[in-house]
Chain length 514, copies 2
């Protein structure tokens, strides 16, 4: 019996050794992708698309290696499998899930999708600059078809009933579009009254000073300092991160090499500032996964919704709070060599939280932000279901922006082409931003109970206690739970929009004095 | 018969499709390596070494795929093989050579070497900063052992009689250490008199103004402009290159994505300037290979010696000529906002060509440069033959510098650790720098006949004619010939040091008025 168990352990070790190569390859591919977004000379795109296609084929072959299935069979069928601890069982569950799903995808589809993805991103960049959707359209159409194909192949194995749910499950396992629809409808109902109260308040901030000119070099130094404050090191000899610039900020990487990007505008310094905070939140999650789980499936984040909960917690709940700015405003004044003499702290905080329906998601305030997401969710759902075509996207987008946010989109660059996601083949991801806000509200409600003085701490420039709390309650669990289970573990309940709405109501009723 | 020939062509096409993946993967790996040298956060080195090890294993598997051998057998054994044109035959020759060699190397050795290489580079950087050879030594020892192993495995298949020759053959096919020894001995004999005449001349340049402070930003703009002048585009929307900064400048890439690095010193602006010119010479070669040969073995440079002939031709023969500076000196004066009012053109040119035995290879003048190479060649030869150990390197290095160049090495950072090559597992490469000088002299002697007015053209800011000549006589042949054959094709003879010595004599007798 002991002998048998030892055989089981040896088989498990063999499996873990086999699958170790997957995250190593994926992390190499993420460098190639990062390079494409940040450093690659423009002419390199054709070769790059071939490199990515080749590597995705290799990755697919690796993830569908029959050896993995054989080892899994041996382990799952072993009488002592029940003696495995929870971590081992979770690893087996995740390996099995991934294997079963990947084997459903034809290699050619994976390779062609990756090739098309690189091309579509390049064309999107050009089309966005030229405000020319018809340049983008044919490449986007090809990519959407490929993603629809993939979704169809994945439906059964993921046990979902429509292709869009198969895509959502990649980013937010176990959450369906039906659940999201329901949550989003209620969320919308909750947001509209807050929005209206803010808009009709007589206390409106003056945010003209946010357009003051701050040289890029200074903005870069502020970004580095902010990252450091929150525990993301990009400068020391032991740095595990770096900050670069891209049109659309993102985070990528694995454990000791996690990179963020931001975007600097000379006349809009808060854009880089909050982009850096947002991506720093993502980076912290990746860098604080348990180091001993590196190369194992559990050594990863729980879901994209949880990732967004971390990024938007740093960006908004903390980063746009009066408490944080009590600490950081003097530094900002000093670093920008602008004493904002006319701007009191409270006015500054109100300005960076001004509620105002707008066209650009990443610049949106917390109250209207989810409306941007709901628009994208509804469009994606129809697009993947085949109820609308790519060429209908611009009009539909503009209609919904007029209807939900009351803004008139002037061109497709500030409209349907504003985000990189669809060009990057990322469908079913957008809802996770709003879920992240909701999870963030739920997480906050627990954190406030456990660290009642967190606002005081932040106002004194102390993030250590909150950081440790986030590690202890979220990061340290890696991918040990599906998102709904982790949410329950932390908060004792499922998705609940109320804490987020409560947080907004408390914050904005104070800011807007309503 | 026609049917049979068609089968042969189909088999050839199949082979070319199979091996196409190799350069695509290699170019992806080169991005990962470039990133390691230029952008990677320091903490990422451990993961990076695993990524590179994994990718080298995949590359090795790809290059030793038995399918390649089967297809080669079919082609080579086919009665109509003789109907193949020269390009097809060369492709077959190169594929066969690479296959036969790679299959001699055990996969584990390849993987372990790549892992060790990444680690050794990281330790070298640290050790160099700390001037601490003993930190570097244990990792270097491991790497040298791995390279000696590889050399032993390759000896037979390469048909050479000692391990060092097997390593040289990787960079300079068909050239042996015996040939090089012979050439270098004669070269030394030819260089010493020129060196002595320069040193004993009463006309010595004042080069103190070269230490003037030029802000890095301005040096960067000069680098970009120089690159552009020679036809290497790093700024336009269709750029196929970029310039970054590394401790040791290098060029890497493939066709439409070829990147160079340089090194900026505020008080030594010519360092970046000539590094940029040198690497631009490399980049031009890669970017002007016939585009229709991309992914084929012939779509590559001939050898590293030929590569160095191109880089050192741009850096020195052109880049340090009175003719080039006749054109560029006014621009330099304007861009540096330093009119060098005390420095006449002739004095400037003499200063950048000052002959002076020194410690650092990359900063050496043309007359002493090859002596730096000869030192490295002699040490490498003994190291790979096992006649000396790694721990003897510093003393031997210092002895030879004293003996050959009369300089006293103060510490190992300016001594044995100055170059990246040994840390990067590159042995047998150094001689190609001197061969590059020699080939360059031979190439120049022909070019001068065919473009008698080349110096006038350059002085008028026209490089187009020379560039086209280099493309027509060197770049366009890709890897169609082994270096000695290409040399013969261009110059009608084998390695001949005389043209290079003639070039030096003519140039330096004028500069030094001897």
């Amino acid at each position: 019996m002991v002998e048998k168990t030892r055989t089981l352990e040896l088989t498990y070790d063999k499996l873990m050794k086999t699958i170790k190569e997957i995250p190593i390859l994926q992390s190499a591919i993420s460098i190639i992708n990062w390079d494409m977004e940040t450093k690659m000379p423009p002419k390199g795109i054709n070769l790059r698309s071939k490199q990515l296609a080749l590597l995705s084929g290799i990755e697919h072959k690796m993830t569908t290696n029959p050896k993995i299935s054989n080892l899994l069979d041996k382990i799952e069928g072993h009488p002592d499998f029940r003696t495995f601890n929870a971590l081992q069982r979770r690893n087996i569950y995740l390996i099995r899930k991934n294997y079963n799903e990947q084997t459903k995808l034809p290699a050619n589809l994976v390779i062609e999708t990756e090739r098309q993805r690189a091309i579509t991103i390049a064309v999107w960049k050009k089309a966005k600059t030229l405000k020319n959707f018809s340049l983008f359209k044919p490449e986007l159409e090809k990519l959407v078809e490929l993603k629809k194909n993939a979704a169809n192949f994945l439906m059964d194995v993921k046990g979902v009933h429509n292709p869009y749910d198969a895509l959502i499950d990649i980013f937010e396992p176990g959450v369906t579009s039906a659940t999201i629809s329901n949550v989003f409808n209620n969320l919308k109902q909750g947001l509209i009254p807050i929005l209206n109260k803010c808009l009709s308040s007589s206390k409106q901030p003056d945010k003209s000073f946010l357009k003051c000119k701050i040289p890029i070099g200074i903005q870069q130094r502020i970004s580095i300092l902010l990252a450091k404050f929150f525990g993301y090191d990009v400068t020391s000899e032991k740095a595990g991160g770096r900050i670069d610039e891209t049109e659309h900020p993102f985070t990528t990487g694995y454990y000791d090499d996690v990179r963020i990007t931001t975007h600097y505008y000379e006349n809009n310094f808060t854009s880089a500032l909050f982009s850096t905070l947002h991506e720093t939140g993502h980076a912290l999650y990746e860098q604080n996964l348990p180091p001993e789980w590196i190369y194992h499936p559990i050594g990863a984040s729980c879901s994209l919704g949880f990732h967004e909960s971390q990024s938007r917690l740093i960006e908004n709940i903390i980063g746009r709070s009066t408490d944080f700015w009590t600490y950081f405003y003097p530094t900002l004044r000093k670093m920008t060599k602008n004493n904002f003499s006319q701007v009191k702290l409270n006015n500054f905080v109100h300005a960076i939280n001004m509620v105002q329906p707008s066209k650009i998601r990443v610049e949106a305030d917390e109250v209207t932000y989810c409306l941007h997401i709901i628009i994208r969710f509804e469009i994606e759902q129809d697009l993947i279901a085949g109820r609308i075509d790519v060429d209908e996207l611009p009009e539909l987008w503009n209609q919904k922006y007029e209807e939900y946010l009351g803004v008139k989109i002037e061109n497709n660059s500030e409209g349907v082409m504003q985000d990189t996601h669809w060009a990057s083949g990322i469908y079913g991801y957008f809802p996770t931003y709003a879920l992240g806000n909701i999870y963030g509200g739920q997480i906050l409600s627990i954190m406030e109970k456990e660290i009642p003085l967190w606002r005081v701490q932040i106002s004194e420039g102390n993030f250590q206690c909150i950081k440790q709390w986030l590690i202890d309650h979220i990061h340290q669990y890696g991918n040990c739970y599906d998102p709904q289970d982790l949410l329950k573990k932390i908060t004792g309940e499922g998705i609940n929009i109320q804490p987020y709405l409560n947080y907004l109501e408390a914050k904005y009723s104070t800011l807007y004095d309503y």
